[in-house]
């Protein structure tokens, strides 16, 4: 991160509102950037006011004892970090020299070694705590990533649905092109179909080829068939009814099934559409929706 990025994070850092990873990035940057350190210092002066605004309470007297006892187990001079830039006053420097000069060599060596070990253990404990904190942060991050992953899965499903819809629309366009082409053929014959009282808003027509062997049924305003049912097309003649096929309608009530006639259309007296079970019926059994006389 550069200074510009860090400056944006500084208000959140001062208010303690950054995630642990961001906080660490700010602190690493501050190690080497005096300008950002100065800006942060101004922010921290402001948040220190917030700290000082809370009701002041004394802790128990035993806390002082616990803190001082804890560090009493560590030898003098145990901290191994570099000395900060503040110059020592004379008395303090003198005190420090006395500590070092007054100890016999062997005892001093033992103290130094045990001190280093104690510091090492103390630091390791601190490091372990930080690793635990980091681990918890990572767990939280994983949970967030899993949530993102689920969102992505939903998105992929939606894209697949859109792709399916697109393919369906492309197939419909091809059907329409085919219909327009065939309707324009010379000699195509159109017969309007009459609706029944059960479907008064339905309009339909039969468009038959000049050779009487194929055609289209074009229908609009027809409701979707009942659950488990479909519409079936029949040709009626002296040899009884002949099934041409079953079809359904789209959400707007439109359909244009392409049909092949078993024999020349002139051999039939009429065409009819009924509602039948979904797989079709061997004999017309349902209510008649549309019909047209053929001769």
């Amino acid at each position: 991160m550069n200074c510009k990025d860090i400056e944006k994070l500084i208000p959140g850092y001062a208010l303690g509102a950054l995630e642990s990873g961001e906080r660490l990035e700010v602190e690493e940057h501050l190690e080497t950037c005096s300008n950002c350190s100065r800006i942060l210092s101004e922010h921290l002066d402001a948040t220190a006011v917030l700290a000082g605004s809370v009701p002041q309470v004394e802790p128990s007297s035993s806390l002082r004892q616990r803190v001082l006892e804890h560090i009493s187990h560590q030898p003098e001079g145990a901290t191994i970090s570099p000395v900060s830039n503040i110059p020592l006053v004379g008395k303090a420097r003198q005190t420090s020299r006395i500590y070092r000069a007054g100890l016999p060599m062997a005892a001093a060596l033992a103290i130094v070694i045990s001190g280093l070990l104690a510091v090492l253990v103390f630091q390791l404990r601190g490091d372990l705590g930080e690793v635990r904190d980091e681990n918890e942060s990572l767990n939280t991050l994983v949970a967030v990533m899993q949530g993102e992953n689920e969102s992505l899965t939903v998105l992929v499903t939606e894209v697949a649905d859109i792709r399916d819809e697109n393919q369906r629309l492309q197939a419909m366009v091809l059907d329409q092109r085919s219909l327009v082409y065939n309707l324009a053929l010379p000699g195509m014959e159109v017969k309007l179909m009459a609706n029944s009282t059960v479907s008064p808003n339905t309009q339909g027509m039969l468009v038959a080829s000049p050779d009487g062997r194929w055609g289209y049924i074009i229908i609009q305003g027809l409701q979707s068939p009942n659950e488990g049912m479909s519409y079936q097309i029949w040709l009626l003649g002296s040899n009884g009814p002949a099934s041409v096929g079953v079809f359904s309608v789209d959400s707007t009530g439109y359909a244009q099934p392409f049909v092949l006639f078993p024999q020349h259309l002139d051999l039939y007296s009429s065409i009819a559409i009924t509602m039948e079970p979904k797989q079709g019926s061997p004999w017309p059994s349902g209510t008649q929706i549309l019909n047209a006389r053929l001769r």
């Binding site: 208010l15 509102a17 006011v49 917030l50 806390l63 009493s72 570099p82």
Partner: protein
């Protein structure tokens, strides 16, 4: 104590040499400020003492990380304590399954739109809120309270208030600008 007359920054230098008396003096001077802040956030005296103890032991261990050129010692110490306390708050929240808590209590947290303000007003009446907060408009005061006193991160605040993350960051930035400007005569803590 022999070191009683030294400045905080001088005492920190002695800490880096392992002078325990220096820690005793710094403890006596600042434990009240540290403990009060920690207790205010955690609302649990036992845990507050634990965290306060960690803060002073950390001071003993990492005194050399203090840089006097970057600001006052007490400011640094309070920032360390605040960050450590927020870590504790967040750890406790995670243990209570933070996401569920936020989702379930989002209504009550949103109602904190009023609650922090009421709290701020109450503290203000008691004369305990510094003038730096009086100048903040309600929406900026709200994010400052949720962040500094409640320990929520920017993204958590955005979730609680149902605002975009950018809005929360902007309000924090503006709030800090105003608070800094009001500190033309900073008081000694």
């Amino acid at each position: 104590m022999p070191n009683d007359g030294l400045l905080d920054e001088e005492l920190v230098t002695l800490l880096t040499l392992g002078e325990k008396d220096a820690l005793a003096v710094l403890y006596s001077r600042h434990v009240r400020s540290v403990y009060s802040l920690v207790l205010h956030l955690l609302q649990d005296a036992g845990k507050a003492e634990e965290v306060t103890q960690e803060v002073f032991l950390n001071l003993w261990k990492k005194a050399a990380t203090f840089r006097p050129e970057r600001g006052k010692f007490l400011t640094w110490l309070l920032t360390t304590a605040h960050h450590r306390t927020i870590d504790e708050l967040r750890r406790a929240r995670r243990q209570r399954n933070a996401f569920d808590e936020i989702a379930q209590s989002s209504k009550s947290e949103v109602s904190m739109v009023e609650s922090p303000l009421e709290r701020a007003e109450r503290l203000e009446e008691a004369g305990t809120v510094h003038k730096a907060l009086e100048i903040l408009p309600p929406e900026q005061l709200q994010v400052v309270v949720l962040a500094y006193y409640k320990g929520y991160s920017q993204s958590e605040i955005a979730q609680i208030l149902n605002h975009p993350l950018g809005t929360v960051k902007t309000r924090m930035r503006l709030a800090m600008q105003k608070m800094r400007a009001s500190l033309s005569q900073p008081r000694e803590l």
